[in-house]
Structures are given as structure tokens and as C-alpha cells.
Symmetry: C2
Subunit: 112 residues, 2 copies
């Protein structure tokens, strides 16, 4: 390989990106990005899926280090872990200024 990154191994990157590469798992992360939710709350939000499927998605997210689970009494709280997402970003973007990318991003939206 041409490049070694130090926080996550390439194999961990595979897990993180595979976990993010599914729209239901992205929707779960969207719904907990501001506040954690219990597994029951997530099952209610994703009512088109059975509980077992939701649990499988949460398991993939946990193994990819994208969520952190805390047990409180009967409840299982799911917190987003932003570090893997930050690492993906920093691997390729860190040195560029965010202001410059914001300008590019706005230009692209204006053009569309």
C-alpha cells in the first residue's frame, strides 16, 4: 500500500465504510447525531423494519466504532461516535481550509 494511516487500520476502515454504505444505517446515525436514542426508540422510528433487523444494523455500527452503547436499567442507549467520520475526513482533507471548501460547495449548489 502507498500510505499507512495511524488511527484506524485499513481493515477497520473497511468496516467503517461498509457500515456507512447502507442507507438504513446512515438514517440511524442521522437520528442520533444530536441526541442518543434507546434501541426501542430507534425501532419505533424504523417501524418498517423488524426489531431483529434494527439490532443487526446497530451491531454493524457498533463493530465499526460508529456508535457507543450504554446500558441504563432496562434501556440500551445508542450514542453516535464521530471519531471514525472525523478520521475519514482528516485523512484526505485536513490540510485544506474549510472556508475554501465551503466556497466550492456553495458554488456547486448555485450552479445546479
Amino acid at each position: 500500500m502507498l500510505y499507512k494511516y495511524n488511527m484506524y487500520t485499513e481493515s477497520e476502515y473497511d468496516h467503517i465504510l461498509k457500515a456507512l454504505g447502507n442507507s438504513t444505517r446512515r438514517a440511524i446515525l442521522d437520528s442520533i447525531k444530536d441526541n442518543p436514542k434507546t434501541t426501542s426508540q430507534l425501532c419505533s422510528l424504523l417501524s418498517e423494519l423488524d426489531r431483529c433487523t434494527v439490532m443487526q444494523h446497530l451491531d454493524v455500527l457498533e463493530k465499526a466504532d460508529l456508535i457507543i452503547i450504554k446500558h441504563q436499567g432496562k434501556h440500551r442507549w445508542n450514542y453516535i461516535n464521530l471519531l471514525p467520520i472525523k478520521e475519514i475526513h482528516d485523512r484526505w482533507i485536513r490540510k485544506y481550509s474549510f472556508e475554501a471548501l465551503d466556497v466550492l460547495s456553495k458554488m456547486k449548489k448555485d450552479l445546479e
Copy 2:
């Protein structure tokens, strides 16, 4: 779905994350993040792969909007496109300050 994001569709997110979910394609992005490279230069760097395989990886990256290709005479120059990576970041992290995440990231590295 619980959330709609406006720059890339969920289907485009699938392509972007699938493209990033392969260590060879990540290595290609690593190698062009500071300077573009021609397809021949990338084939030399990835000498364990045949040219056809490298071209297939570049095709996946281009379809995912992660590289932009410019033709100049006989050369095909491959430029990284950071917008999809920035969008992944902004979808979940934008509102958090980078300073806070940097502290967290350093704490985690110190603990390990």
C-alpha cells in the same frame, strides 16, 4: 427514511461509500491528495496490479465523484474531488467544533 440530505442522494452516498470501502481505492486517493497523477503514474505505483484492474478502480472512483479526470495530450490526469468526503463529514459533524474533536482525538491516541 428519517433524514434527507440535499447534495448527494442516498443512492449516490451508496456509490461514494462503496468506492471508499476498498483499500486500493483509498490508496489511490492517498497518492493523489496533494498532487494529481496520470493513470500511468498510478499504474507504476500500484505495480502489483495489472493496468486493467487499476483502470477499473479509477472508473469506480470517477462514478462516485471522488476523482475528476482531465485529458492532456496522451495523458489522463486524475485529480481528487474532496466534495463527497466533505459532505460525509458535514452530514454528521458540521455543527461540532473541530477543536473539540481534535482534543477528543488526541485524548484517544494518548490513552492507546
